[in-house]
């Protein structure tokens, strides 16, 4: 599928934003200032961006514990996210959610999720809303290879299939669920499962932004046309540990370094668009610079932002009670 210059620049900038966001969090986490569990998306950027840039704010996505990339790809603001991750009142969720629960419903982002397999049922619901209210929207569930073994995910594939929902199930297969390899935990195959529930599956190289983009385009068009759900099985890799603090001793020595050097989705994107003269290095360099500045600013801002007030503990449990 053809992409214009503007879209390409936008895609690059989004991927770079995610990378910079995550690399920076990796450093900041080590200082001990960031509370709780943080799961970084670095390495997987092409997947979130290749899909989400084809969605509007009416289209919904459900994310995972590894949610920063999905948020940023869906257009959620850097500053609100960073503040949230630091537990500040100015965070997107007022500091009550943290990294694992960032959401922005105004952007169609239904939330990161601390429960593995929590998102796919919700996406059936968002897709149902689109179908019943005839909004033309689609709904996308991101889930990991680990989550593909959770009953909630499997039931959702069937429900979307028999209700013919405008839903897309994106299995982000990074080869591990925590320290357990998908070679061990996944019986059969993702494509086989999709077929078993009656939906098509696209096998996608997740290091290749354009491969993701094209497969997503097909799945989205199918969903918008009322032809039902699809699965995307995207193979990719995370560059950091399962969460910050994980020593990743279960991975092969040099595994990540090799992937970073040889298959990195951003480097590959850059090479391809510059070689094809679609964008030039100057465009991309200035995007890099802008991104660095934005993240720098967001971190500084978050560190100095005020904490939630004592009264906030008790608000927002119910709309009315």
């Amino acid at each position: 599928m053809q992409m214009n210059r503007e879209d390409l620049l936008q895609a690059y900038r989004r991927m770079r934003t995610i990378r910079e966001f995550e690399e920076r969090l990796h450093l900041e986490f080590a200082t001990g200032e960031i509370p709780g569990f943080v799961h970084l998306y670095a390495g997987e950027e092409a997947c979130a961006v290749g899909i989400c840039m084809q969605l509007t704010d009416r289209d919904a996505i459900a994310s995972t514990h590894r949610g920063h990339g999905h948020c940023l790809a869906k257009g959620v603001e850097v500053a609100g996210m960073m503040n949230e991750i630091y537990g500040r009142k100015s965070g997107l969720c007022g500091g009550k959610g943290g990294s694992m629960h960032i959401a922005d419903l105004s952007k169609g982002m239904l939330g990161a999720n601390g429960i593995v397999g929590g998102g796919p049922p919700l996406i059936c619901g968002a897709a149902l809303t689109a179908k019943v209210l005839k909004t033309g929207a689609v709904a996308v569930a991101f889930f990991g290879d680990g989550a593909s073994n959770q009953g909630t995910t499997l039931e959702s594939l069937n429900l979307a299939s028999i209700w013919n929902l405008p839903a897309i199930f994106v299995c982000e297969d990074n080869g591990y669920a925590e320290s357990t390899s998908s070679a061990y935990s996944v019986g059969g195959s993702q494509a086989g499962r999709a077929a078993g529930f009656g939906m098509p599956c696209h096998e996608v190289d997740g290091f290749d932004f354009f491969a993701v983009h094209d497969a997503a385009a097909t799945a989205i068009a199918r969903a918008r046309a009322g032809e039902g759900p699809s699965m995307l099985h995207v193979r990719l890799s995370r560059y950091f540990g399962h969460f910050e603090g994980d020593a990743t001793t279960y991975r092969a020595p040099g595994e990540v370094e090799r992937l970073r050097a040889e298959r990195d989705c951003i480097a590959r994107f850059r090479k391809r668009v510059t070689e094809a003269a679609l964008l030039d290095d100057a465009d991309l360099d200035s995007a890099d610079e802008a991104v660095t500045g934005e993240i720098e600013h967001a971190v500084a801002d978050a560190k100095n932002a005020p904490l939630p007030s004592e009264a906030d503990l008790l608000t927002d449990v119910y709309v009315a009670y």
Partner: protein
Amino acid sequence: MSKKSYRAAINEALRQEMRRDPTIVLMGEDIAGGAGAPGEQDAWGGPLGVTKGLLAEFGRERILDTPLSESAFIGAAAGAAATGLRPVAELMFVDFMGVCFDQIFNQAAKFRYMFGGRARTPMVIRTMYGAGLRAASQHSQSLYPIFTHIPGLKVALPSSPYEAKGLLIAAIRDDDPVIFFENKMLYDDEEEVPDEPYAIPFGEANLTREGDHATIVAFGRMVKLANAAADRLEKAGISCNVVDPRTTSPLDTGTILECVEDTGRLVIVDEASPRCNMAADISALVAQEAFGALKAPIQMVCPPHVPVPFAPNLEDLYVPSAERIEAAVRAVMAYKAREAA
């Protein structure tokens, strides 16, 4: 106004609300029935016929029969509620919560708080609870204490047809997730129920009877038994308040505490298992907030700490009875006598 059964009152509430608001959809197993089958469509209206007839008016776009996948469809209700629909999902028996609880208590219940107040999840889960149908231990539980324990959920327990219609309409109009507990032994009960829609506000107890000597707080089906016990006690000169809290979350603590202040004696009747249940919850409330008014130990009338047995004679022993309630009231009254002595 006309006599309606609990079943019919619920059906009418659903129908009237669906007419009013096109974003309301129903989903559940066999809630119409006959999907994809060669015979009658709307063959069941749920296993006890509660949703029967809605399909004809609203069609399969809004009356959604589901596969046997509670996690997926209860979660879908939550996702739909967060994105613009107002779903009413049926969890056929509350005993089945164990296959889908995550979508209720970690997703729907917490959206609002964990997203910093920027989500609304207007969904209702209608579900059937309680013993008495000889359905044994996996189809007879009264698990509302578990849902009451969870911040973010509201829990309603209609005790009669009138209550059922008004509380269900309130539940549907509510912007928070509501778990609506229908007692399976009440479906055929009848009483006068207004034809027009009306909402009974949550968190306002119904003082079904006033008295001077003791207060009985009872939930759901137990309200009927409490009133039967109170009738008998009345004849023996003991007059009771009978409080139906209607919702366990929010709970009308004010009415309960006032009644205890007035009578000084409290009996709580709860069909749920005895540990960490609503009887304990209210007992604790009163022991902390109205201690000075208490003239006798609080008596709890609950089933024993055992699964619900199948054999009818055992099941009848299991469920709190009017006799046991009466005995408990007599016990709190007798305590006074002993003190005086």
